[in-house]
Homo-oligomer: 471 residues x 2
């Protein structure tokens, strides 16, 4: 933790020098090695100082030359505005588009900017393999037996212990494991809604949640969302009488990457509890913060048991393991019944493997490393987008998570761009996927889960050329 504060301290000081114009645009910064000596810090801490400044768009790196103060600090590309979703009258599901995009997944000859999962370079594969072997040894009947309904004891205990990091308090018995995060959300929605109910969500929104809601016969109300502060509370308040249930991703949601401030989280929890509207909170990106502290959850402020907190290890450890969980508050009995009738139990081996990985303390070490890698990847992406895409492009500045949102001018149609790009072996996630209305056609999501290697950078450059030809 000491390291965390050190790099923030030092980067804060340098940032002040830049803002006070002591350091001016174009000025060269000391080398990493120099910074180490000056402050008596490690190479890693020195690197994080520079990444932090780069994330704030205050400095930029030039190959073979080092770091320089940016020409236009803070403003190289503007942020997208608060979204303004169309009313839900003209709902039309982008099924065909989603099918097209999903059919590119797993194809090895494609560059998948559309991917929703972390690249394997981010994941501790060797250590997980070892835990899988250990799990077959430790479990009764080698993991072939049905597990108890609520899920692996140790895993639930380890998840409960981590609640302290987001200011929450959970016990083993408050948790139910599931086959991944979407499975948790699907159980919540099946337990608490009936066809015809209205569900409020952020807009733009993860396509899987939109499709899930539609498949259960729900009406989707898309709420305006800010790329930095997330859901617009005022709109939620205005429409509260029409809402039966609410599904939010308050921390680093996909595709915007926004993170709701604490006071907004508090306000939403209070508002929904007052109207007895259950809140399903999807926190799968919460651990992937770039700053010094994990953001709190809505669940942190839940006094009534009205928040169903869902998460998984799919974004931080192993998507293919299908291990997720829900802390369903006062809805626990309904959730348990749902799990029993739809799934009987969860996959025993992968749960046990993750439980033991957590128990060894390796998870925190892994997360620290992964956060730094994703943050650096993000910086590379922001800079590359600024370099290759039109000057009027807007881009979100997530402070965590695996997604950033790119907004072009109105002439660019990203659905058409998909068809052009796929011919050059590039798959993108067009904005239209993230809504049920005819909107966001000039936007796309970029995934921070794909490492921006030189090869991938070339593909992004190619994509930039295609966009430039459309404007």
């Amino acid at each position: 933790m000491k390291t965390d504060f050190l790099y923030i301290d030092i980067s804060g000081k340098i940032a002040r020098l830049i803002k006070d114009k002591v350091l001016k645009a174009g000025d060269r910064l000391p080398s990493v090695r120099m910074l180490c000596k000056e402050h008596n810090i490690s190479m890693n801490t020195a690197k994080r100082v520079f990444w932090e400044l780069e994330a704030q768009s205050l400095i930029e790196s030039r190959p073979q030359s080092g770091y320089f103060v940016c020409q236009l600090p803070y403003q190289r590309l503007p942020l997208p505005a608060l979204t303004n979703p169309l009313p839900s009258g003209r709902t039309s599901e982008p099924d065909e588009l989603i099918r097209k995009v999903y059919s590119t997944m797993g194809k090895k000859d494609l560059t998948l900017f559309s991917i929703g999962a972390p690249a394997k370079e981010f994941l501790p594969l060797a250590k997980l393999n070892k835990e899988i072997v250990n799990a077959t040894r430790a479990l009764p009947a080698s993991g072939t037996a049905y597990e108890q309904l609520q899920g692996n004891d140790l895993l639930r205990r380890m998840i409960a212990a981590r609640a302290i990091s987001w200011g929450g308090h959970l016990q083993e018995d408050d948790l139910i494991t599931t086959a991944g995060g979407m499975n948790a959300i699907s159980f919540c929605l099946m337990a608490l809604t009936k066809p015809g109910d209205t569900i409020a969500m952020e807009s733009p929104c993860y396509p899987g949640s939109l499709q899930l809601a539609r498949s259960l016969g729900l009406k989707v109300m898309e709420i305006p969302t800010h790329p930095v502060t997330g859901l617009d509370i005022a709109t939620l308040k205005n429409r509260i009488d029409k809402i039966d249930i609410c599904l939010l991703v308050p921390n680093f949601n996909t595709p915007l990457g926004s993170c709701m401030p604490e006071e907004n989280k508090k306000a939403v929890v209070k508002l929904l509890a007052k109207h007895n509207i259950p809140l399903i909170e999807d926190d799968i990106y919460g651990e992937l913060y770039f700053g010094t502290h994990r953001p709190k959850c809505c669940k942190t402020f839940d006094r009534e048991g009205n928040v169903l907190l869902c998460s998984s290890f799919s974004k931080t450890l192993a998507p293919g393991y299908r291990v997720g969980w829900v802390a369903p508050g006062k809805y626990k009995e309904q959730l348990l019944k749902l799990k029993l009738v739809h799934a009987i139990s969860s996959s025993a081996i992968t749960q046990e493997a993750i439980a033991n990985f957590l128990k060894t303390g390796r998870y925190d070490h892994h997360l620290r490393k992964m956060r730094a890698m994703v943050q650096q990847n993000y910086i590379q992406y922001v800079n590359a987008v600024a370099e290759y895409f039109p000057a009027d492009t807007r881009v979100s500045r997530p402070q965590g998570g695996l997604a950033m949102w790119v907004e072009f001018n109105r002439n660019v149609d990203t659905t058409a761009l998909f068809d052009i790009a796929i011919k050059q072996k590039i798959s993108i996630a067009p904005g239209r996927m993230f809504t049920l209305q005819h909107q966001y056609e000039n936007c796309m999501r970029l995934s921070l889960g794909l490492l921006l290697t030189d090869e991938v950078r070339q593909k992004l450059k190619q994509l930039g050329k295609m966009v430039n030809m459309m404007i």
Copy 2:
């Protein structure tokens, strides 16, 4: 295969001698060793000859003395009659009872006659463990990556290749993998029904299916079912106009253990296709036949793609792996969409492990061994029930699967028996669990998945005493 025919040949000849009264009640049969010499066969074949005759209640074994022709061949305990389910007006879910019974699962100090899964003694644990390790080596990103939506290629190919054993024809692309068999059925029901629809099922019926149907808001129509020949076709025909969907377990269903004759399967498929009513066929017990041939499926006779065949490896390999599948016929697109929104993908490692286990050919070897073990266990149970329970007890004679149905006289209340038995560390599955109506209160299911060791036999004897005190 030669062995299979040999033991049937020889047991057939002995059976004729008994029926023709050449061998009379109380006569001693030759020893296993003698039989080997006489027919020039292996010990295993000789043992199977005796088991086969024992399964037909023609002979019985006496400790230290050998096999003897039975006192009352075929009739020691009568079969239950065709069930006569109450009309669905007075539906009441046995939730509380089911919760009580399920809460005993996995408790090591209890004898679980209520268990629904095969004991670990039946399963090839060491070989599966090896395949788990191989899977982490063979899979991309060690199995941490999202798998393709439809499921593991090799696994689907291996399942398709096995279709020949039930007279079917499937290709890899006809199959979708799921997280266990109930997950497959749950996707089918979610894809094809809406609340208020009526579903026809056998009665008594697996409680999980009843609960699943109720949780989706379906009306359940319980159809009379015969302990040998299964669903009563005449009743189905009479009520066909009121039915929206049908869920059947034609082969060795739980709890009755019945197996529909081929002509009945044909008739059901034809009838439902004519009325455009989808048939979900649950075949999880199909591989566990005691005879020489695997029974066919309804799917075998499906020309219209109207049968959604569901199965899993939970009854034959590894309940805790959660690997199941569905061959959804013409409903494939709907099923794929359901899987995408509710689960994204299946657990990669356990699917790969089972796929490779199948590929090595070990599965057939394992099944041959497991069938013989389960059959012998069944024989022991039938004989033990005849010995320890009241003389007017009726018992089903499954020719495969993991369940048998025991019917006491009207004075016995098995729901009350559960409460009494649990105090002596015995858990049973009362008949009331298997219906939504107030019936089968004098019945219970015994599981052939629990090995009848000496210790378990003592518990069954204890249970018999409790029943005798109730009559």
